[in-house]
Amino acid sequence: MAWIVGKREQEIIKVVNEYLKTVSSELKAAKQLLKAYLSKDTQDIETLTEAVRLRESNADSLRRKVESMMYSGAFLPNFRGDLLGILESADKVANRTEYFADILELQTPEIPDWLEDTLIRELDLSVESYELLMKAIKNLFRDLEKAAEYVIETEKKEHETDIVERELLKKIFSMNIPLAQKMELKELVQTIADISDRAEDCSDRVEIVLMKRRV
């Protein structure tokens, strides 16, 4: 069917894929950042925080590019708004990831050793949620049935992240540390979980698009 698809649509799909890839690389940088932070590698922390910010900013530019391309008349009007809504929603994942980097760089929370592995696991799950969301969005342009499957997978992954988040919060508040530190750790844990939550919110939008197109 690719032969009947217009050039404008192909170009937009290309930029959307680029956008999704940029957010994905932002999340990968965030993962490296957490590891560098936990190993107290100061130089890497600075470089990786900057990398997260730069990718978030690049993603913003790409999203704006899609917006302006979209209103040149590509796709049918219903889908134009839908796709922009999906990208705006995905952008919240990118924003939250940047906020996570800010917490590490600016607040420098003190993370107890025995919390480290679970924290890394929580971030891994959040990143995996986004990766599944990315597949769902990409499959809007490849295979709508697969897109629906990835939406369900994203929801499941978000649920897994929630469980780890609660486990972490329970541990934090059972620890014998100052309340200020508890609150700081709580914010960090919740920010990581938010990445997954926002990926799921975005997958809900993808699901609505799929339902609207169901004939």
């Binding site: 690719a2 009947i4 698809v5 217009g6 796709f75 049918l76 009007p77």
Partner: protein, 314 residues
């Protein structure tokens, strides 16, 4: 003087183009699948083609309805056109067929100067009921059938491209059907008396096309947006189902209401998808327009004729 009698027919054609273009591309333009300007250009070309190529069988049907003279027929046509124009301005797209029939009957009854063929009238009224039902059923079934294949298209961009291309083809076919079927309403009553069949088809077709090009926006947005919440696929199905209905009637030589046809089709497609009426008030307004139009056209034509009579001193 004879040329003066053609003017009301051209006026009616213009109003018909404005009113009935809804049935051809209303839902497609209202949902943004096709741009208004492109739709009107394509549609006006195919209306003329449909009128001249396929308009023959239906053109004599209306001339059998009454035995009014040329002047009375021209007055009836003018009254029909004015009635529909008023309905367009009130944002209630009405039926040209009903308007012209109401107008001819009203003039015949009120002035007592023409015999009404009540048998023909009965058949025509039965068609007014049959048309939206036919198009509704057609849309319902067409939706079920086409959606089965449409689901096999995997991606958003391919689905959108198919809908865009099919919509343009749908407009071509719908316009051709409209021209073939509805040209009879415009110049049918004058055919054989004032102009030959070929001239009647051409004059009727061009005047409808002119109406589409210059005055269709208002009616298009009323029907396209207000009856049910339409998605692109349902819009396309409605237009094609309506075109099939009008085309079938034009093959058997019966002018039907394209407006009734699209309203039926829009509801049929909606029901097939499991979507009910968006605004029952709008539907009520449209249906009451179907009753109000022939009655008001009849009264208006009788009044116009009486005024003419008085002006000429009895």
């Amino acid at each position: 003087m004879n040329l003066l009698y053609i003017l009301p027919a051209i006026f009616l054609g213009w109003v018909l183009g404005a009113n009935d273009s809804v049935s051809v591309f209303g839902p497609l333009v209202a949902t943004g699948v096709v741009r208004y300007r492109i739709a009107t250009l394509v549609s006006s070309f195919f209306v003329v083609l449909g009128a001249t190529v396929g308009g023959g069988p239906g053109i004599t049907t209306l001339s059998k309805l009454t035995s009014l003279n040329l002047e009375q027929t021209a007055v009836a046509i003018l009254a029909a056109a004015v009635s529909v124009l008023i309905m367009i301005l009130l944002r209630a797209p009405s039926s040209i067929s009903q308007s012209i029939v109401g107008s001819l009957i009203g003039l015949s009854v009120a002035t007592g100067c023409g015999n009404v063929n009540w048998g023909s009238l009965g058949e025509i009224v039965a068609l007014w009921i049959a048309t939206p039902l036919t198009s509704g059923i057609c849309a319902f079934l067409l939706y079920k059938l086409i959606s089965h294949y449409f689901r096999k298209i995997k991606s958003v961009q391919a689905q959108d491209a198919v809908i865009k291309a099919a919509s343009i083809l749908g407009i071509c076919y719908g316009s051709f059907s409209l021209g073939a079927n509805n040209v009879a309403n415009v110049t049918g009553p004058l055919t054989g008396r004032l102009m030959s069949v070929d001239t009647a088809l051409l004059v009727g077709g061009i005047s409808i096309a002119f109406g589409i090009l210059t005055f269709s926006r208002r009616a298009v947005l009323t029907v396209g947006k207000s009856i049910v919440a339409l998605d692109h696929f349902s819009s396309l199905i409605s237009v094609v189902a309506s075109a099939i209905t009008v085309w079938v009637y034009s093959i058997v030589g019966v002018p039907v209401s394209a407006t009734q046809s699209i309203v039926g089709a829009v509801i049929g497609a909606g029901l097939s998808r499991g979507v009910g009426l968006a605004e029952k008030k709008t539907l009520l307004r449209i249906v009451s327009g179907w009753v109000f139009t022939p009655v008001s056209a009849g009264i208006l034509s009788a009044a116009l004729f009486s005024i003419l009579k008085i002006l000429r001193g009895g």
